[in-house]
Amino acid sequence: MTLEETRQVVGIVVFPGSNCDQDTIQAIMDLGAIPRVLDYRLRQLPAIDRLILPGGFSYGDYLRSGALAAAAPIMDAVGEAATAGMPVLGICNGFQILCERGLLPGALLPNPHGEFVCRLETLRVTAVPSGFQGLSVGDRLALPIAHHEGSYRVSDGKLHELFEQGQVFLQYSDPDGVVHPLTNPNGSVANIAGVTQGSVVGLMPHPERAMAEYLGSADGRRLLQAWFGQKGGHGC
């Protein structure tokens, strides 16, 4: 069954300062699903099948990236939906928000070199999150990153556990999928670019900006299709 047949409704949470919401809406519509914009002040979620927290600079990144959005009124309902098993995807600032909220492990710090990094990176799939279809361990995806606070950290002693439990979704690698310090754009521990916990997934790269070859890569389309539980790997 295609997405158009199932007509999945994807809630896209918009906070003050979100700026990737329109790209995300376009990407979702491209894949045949129905986007539904959700204001951060809502306390209950309407009837939706999935949730995306898009990228941007919610609350101007004040206090810490994602920290104030993590305490927004809608986040109680997001937490409850995630606990009940609804697929939740956090992209870039959305990833930071999910970490700050405690729905994903770890935290994102400013890049140690102090630079905003904006370029295409190769990501290696290290574990396939629950519900994903059409992605395998070892697959490589070319996706753009664009951030200043993308240095992923975990509490002391937690890194091993994260790998052990299959929570490390993506790692920055070279084009052959080899993960080493030279392919680390932002000082993330173990080159980690994306993690998962239960039905929640967060990643720093922007799949919604890689929906077609003319944008430099169509691998974002592949990743989002996988999130929708669709095999394929090509346009639909």
Binding site: L63, R64, A67, P112, G114, R153
Partner: protein, 83 residues
């Protein structure tokens, strides 16, 4: 109820790399100061109403744990001043 000013000092935990602190340390060296370490944190003041100083401190601690500091990478301490 009495009025108190809470002061929270929030900083990166020991061992967590502080890029802003390192950049500042380099500039201090350029200025020929003999510094060996710089750690940069945030100083947050909150005015609250509470029954007493003990309760005010507990509120400050909760604010730190739930919002003002991130327990993964930051540590904080709270001071209370009666106004």
């Amino acid at each position: 109820m009495k009025t108190y000013r809470l002061g929270l000092h929030v900083g990166l935990k020991e061992g967590v790399l502080d890029p802003a602190g390192q950049a500042t340390l380099q500039v201090l060296h350029q200025m020929e100061f003999a510094a060996t370490e710089v750690r940069i944190g945030k100083w947050i003041q909150v005015v609250i109403e509470a029954e007493d100083e003990v309760r005010a401190l507990a509120i400050g601690d909760e604010m730190g744990r739930r919002l003002l500091a991130n327990p993964v990478m930051e540590a904080f301490d709270v001071t209370v001043t009666p106004l």
